[in-house]
Amino acid sequence: MTTVLGLSALAGVLVCPVPALLARSTWPQRAPAAGLVLWQAIGLASGLAGVGAGLALAVLPLHSHLLPGLDRLATQTLAGHPLAGLGVFNVAGLLWAIVLTGRLAGGLVVATIRTLRSRTRQRRMIDLVARPYPASRHARVLDHPAAMAYCLPGLLRPRVVLSAGTLHLLDDQQVAAVLAHENAHTRARHDLVVLPFRALYSALPWVPWVARAHQAVSMLIEMLADDCACRSHQRRVLATALVEVATSTSAVAPAGALSATQGPLVARVRRLVDPPAPLPAWLPLAAYLTALALIALPTFLLVVPLVTAG
């Protein structure tokens, strides 16, 4: 019972107040990598705790420990009477664990396949339609007047796509800064960080923290790439390029749900123009340790029996 309660409480805390707090705090903008790791740990730990709580509840009448309990459940399922000895709540817990696992794993698989397929299709088209950009190996120029820059990450053939409109709008220094930003994405495979959160968002869009996490993670990888580009380019050059590209296409922008002063773009520009003081070294360290603890806790609760009654 302790396991069920512990895991439920952990899942509850990770799903409700923690993401809200983390989304509101500004320190991740000063240490994006630490912030990203913490978000990943929260996502993983809440999933583990949520599924684990359901399973622990399901096998409660069979055994007080989760693993032997699951073993019994498997044995009696093979014997042809899977629900023997289970009450209504136990069956509900089992259903919850199955549905949640299916939803999470299925969402990830679907998102991965969809992303890979769409990326391959787009890269094929880009290679056919866009011309190479001599200054950068993976860069291509798409002949279109609207300003736009993006990357198609990939293991072997990543592509950074600039529109002709972008080259027209920006000067050489700014273009180089944009390329450095995009190359940082493709080199560090930031897309792999976003993918699970995008999958989660597709699978459970009505859960408030999921939307928050997706939004925060998307912004933090941009800041990470901004920081990377600023190692070889001036911050102001990148900030100007960012504003130029964003505002030049304002005519086609959909109405945003974000308030103008708190949007991720404004945050990016502000920290480029006026870089915040670096964080004290202990804070990112504390974030990494917290992330480790978050993943260790549900694992511990699942594997190690807290109740030693037989």
Binding site: R114, T115, P132, M148, I221
Partner: protein
């Protein structure tokens, strides 16, 4: 009609496909509105070119074997980029859509209006609303009214 003549060496198959496709686009640049077919959707169809014409046009800038051109056209047809039409004993080829149409489609995808549910591409910036554009321009000037100056 914008024509990009680039001088990239034809090395990989992807480059070959691009070169052949570009040549085909150039050769069939003019719309032939009179030859509308049933699946032309009222837009008319593109003019066609033979593999020989493509090979000859390509040969002016880079020599490619005729059979290579045929192979590449075959691949392009299988990929759904080119349509092959039989005319007597010869085949004629037509692009399924113009280069501009593909570029416009890619831009639309990139701007996220076609599908926003996959993580295929990572945009440099998202387009913004007019009022956010104003806030961005002010932020660029270092004007951040909601934050106290803290750094040195």
């Amino acid at each position: 009609m914008v024509t990009q003549r680039n001088s990239v060496p034809v090395a990989r198959l992807g480059d070959l496909e691009r070169a052949v496709m570009e040549t085909l686009w150039d050769l069939t640049a003019d719309w032939d509105l009179t030859a509308a077919t049933s699946d032309g959707g009222g837009r008319g169809v593109l003019r066609t070119a033979t593999a020989r014409q493509v090979s000859d046009r390509l040969g002016a800038t880079r020599p490619l074997a005729y059979t290579t051109v045929l192979t590449v056209l075959d691949r392009l047809e299988r990929k759904g980029l080119v349509r092959r039409l039989r005319e007597g004993r010869a085949h004629r080829y037509a692009p399924i859509a113009t280069r501009e149409a593909y570029a416009a489609k890619l831009m639309l995808d990139a701007l996220g209006r076609a599908s926003d549910r996959d993580a295929a591409l990572v945009r440099f910036v998202d387009a913004v609303s007019p009022e956010e554009a104003e806030v961005l321009r002010r932020a660029l000037l270092g004007d951040s009214p909601d934050r106290q100056e803290s750094g040195p």
